[in-house]
């Protein structure tokens, strides 16, 4: 009897202890869980709720309107335009980031030049990445000014007989902002791909060379397949982040002229903080979130495939 009592007492004590031990990891995590709940989960729930109301923040008693805001947006021409612009801007950026990043990484990985020379070039190549979007925006506004140095070079070389309005022309503005974004974003690829290149075992190349493979074949059958997982990860992360780009557009064209550079992010910002249509802005913001999460899902799946 006594022994039995002692046993239950002990096991009770043990289960309490177990609960306590089970809580330890959460103690370490509690500040993070608290912060991320308030800063990520709660706001996403809020923005979804806002998107189903007639007009929050401005109205004292907002009314539930279902998916009316979404319907309105999806039939709105400006929204279509912003979506198309965002996709063009993002897709072109990702493609050219990859081309430039891979090209520079291959150049920097050459065995033909001494280490020191390569290190100096690497620092120069990374520079655009060190600059914040605000600074990149005004830097290019200076260079691309109608009276700026790039127009001077074009005039002098005879490529054009008149000054080009890079950022305020209806035809050019979207291409120009895309170019600026390409310039500022390739180092991210370059650095990662350079690390990837240096991780490919030299024996692979030696063996293939002995078998008589030429430079192009080495690239096609060894370099590219070895880099593929990194390239896929980079492209998907870049796709998500470029889709969110706001600062660069806001500081160069503000979405103009005549909305030719309007992106989903700038449109959403204007809906909220210029037109005070917070509910419509919330619907737009939620659509951007959904698009991003779809790409993120591919990213996670790809990561898992690499891990296996």
């Amino acid at each position: 009897m006594i022994a039995e009592k002692q046993m239950t007492h002990r096991s009770k004590k043990r289960s309490l202890r177990n609960i306590f031990i089970g809580l330890v990891p959460f103690a370490y995590l509690s500040p993070s869980i608290l912060l991320l709940s308030v800063l990520a989960i709660l706001p996403i729930a809020m923005v979804f709720r806002y998107s189903l109301m007639n007009n929050v923040i401005m109205e004292k008693n907002p009314v539930f309107v279902g998916f009316a805001n979404y319907a309105k947006l999806l039939s709105d021409e400006v929204f279509h335009k912003a979506f198309a612009n965002t996709m063009y801007f993002t897709a072109m950026s990702v493609i050219f980031h990859l081309i430039l990043g891979l090209g520079f990484a291959l150049l920097l990985n050459t065995k033909l030049l001494p280490q020191m020379t390569r290190a100096i070039f690497r620092v120069i190549y990374v520079l655009p990445w060190v600059f914040t979007a605000t600074i990149i925006a005004i830097l290019w506004r200076l260079l691309l000014n109608p009276n700026g140095v790039i127009n001077y070079l074009i005039l002098v070389s005879g490529l054009s007989s008149e000054k080009i309005e890079w950022l305020s022309s209806k035809e050019l503005a979207l291409h120009t902002v895309t170019f600026i974004n390409i310039w500022s974003g390739y180092p991210f690829y370059m650095v990662s791909l350079l690390a990837g290149l240096q991780g490919i075992p030299g024996e692979y190349y030696e063996a293939a060379t002995i078998d008589g493979a030429n430079g192009r074949q080495l690239f096609r059958y060894i370099t590219l397949p070895q880099l593929k997982p990194i390239i896929l990860s980079l492209a998907m992360l870049d796709f998500i982040w470029t889709m969110h780009q706001f600062t660069l557009i806001w500081m160069t064209t503000g979405g103009g002229p005549l909305r030719v550079t309007e992106m989903l992010s700038t449109l959403t910002y204007k809906l909220a903080f210029s037109s005070y249509k917070f509910s419509q802005a919330s619907a737009s913001a939620f659509i951007i979130l959904a698009l991003s999460l779809i790409v993120a899902l591919f990213y996670v799946r790809q990561q898992r495939a690499t891990d296996d």
Binding site: P25, L36, Y125, T132, A133, G148, V156, S192, M251, L289
Partner: protein
């Protein structure tokens, strides 16, 4: 002979490519720096020249002599510094937990933390605006520090978990056997060893905070609360374009990140690539 010749042409081509690339990436920055030493009259001089007769540090003197602009820098340093310290502290605790314990909802939490990295800032902006106003934090440092942490913290947790995973568990066990607590093991043994990882994470965090624009633009209002990126933008609207001052401010604005980069290049790269290659 032909082999030697072909190696020589290959080397020439590589050098040519490298120089063209350096012009592409370096020239805009060179031009920006050069313009900060010009007088505003000569910014768009025809024909343009890299260095003009008016070469001077005047623009820098104006920027640094203006208390309003100095305040932008003070604000940026303060906010970025606070974000970095808090992120590292909270992120290290969480990373330790993820690395050393098994617990329920671990996988779900992990998915949320990675997922946060894909959430668009613009999506969070509208609810942040109402939350910050509700909490009476509008136009304060706290508003910026708190909201910046959503992205820096999730990044830091991923990074620190990765670093702790590379450290052998025997290290913690040695401390436990000596009678120390788990927390001691973390604080006295793991943190000093994980310092390179913390530096990498800290630098990247500082950079994210230093460069942030959207939240700073929307969640502050008065000029004395503005950070450098927003300050530069205001400079652009305010005057009739004092280009040389804007360039001087841009040079000063990217100095901290550039210095961090040059000094901690290796850490910096590690921080940057770890997040992307192994998410």
């Amino acid at each position: 002979m032909t082999k030697k010749a072909s190696i020589r042409t290959a080397r020439l081509l590589v050098i040519l490519g490298l120089i063209l690339g350096a012009i592409f990436s370096g020239f805009p920055i060179l031009w920006m720096t050069a313009s900060s030493f010009k007088s505003n009259m000569e910014i768009f001089a025809f024909p343009p020249r890299l260095i003009t007769e008016s070469f001077s540090f005047n623009a820098y003197k104006v920027v640094l002599g203006d208390p309003e602009k100095r305040r932008f820098f003070l604000n940026s340093y303060l906010v970025s510094g606070l974000v970095t310290v808090l992120t590292l502290f909270v992120g290290t605790l969480a990373g330790y937990s993820f690395s050393r314990y098994k617990f329920r909802f671990k996988k779900a939490l992990n998915v949320i933390i990675i997922g946060v990295q894909a959430v668009p800032p613009i999506t969070l902006l509208i609810p942040y605006f109402s939350l910050i106003v509700m909490l009476k934090l509008y136009n304060t440092y706290a508003a910026l520090v708190l909201t910046y942490m959503v992205f820096t913290l999730s990044y830091a947790i991923i990074m620190m978990t990765g670093y702790f995973n590379t450290l052998p568990r025997e290290l913690d066990e040695a401390v436990l056997i000596d009678g120390g607590s788990r927390f001691m093991a973390l604080w006295r043994v793991l943190v000093p060893i994980a310092l390179p990882g913390m530096v990498a994470t800290g630098i990247y965090t500082f950079m994210l905070a230093w460069n942030e624009f959207l939240f700073a633009l929307t969640l502050t209002k008065t000029i004395d609360m503005r950070t450098v990126p927003v300050g530069i933008q205001m400079l652009m609207g305010q005057h009739s374009y004092e280009w040389n001052e804007m360039m001087a401010m841009s040079v000063l604005g990217c100095l901290p990140v550039l210095i961090l980069y040059l000094f901690f290049q290796r850490y910096f790269m590690a921080g940057m690539t770890a997040g992307s290659v192994k998410g």
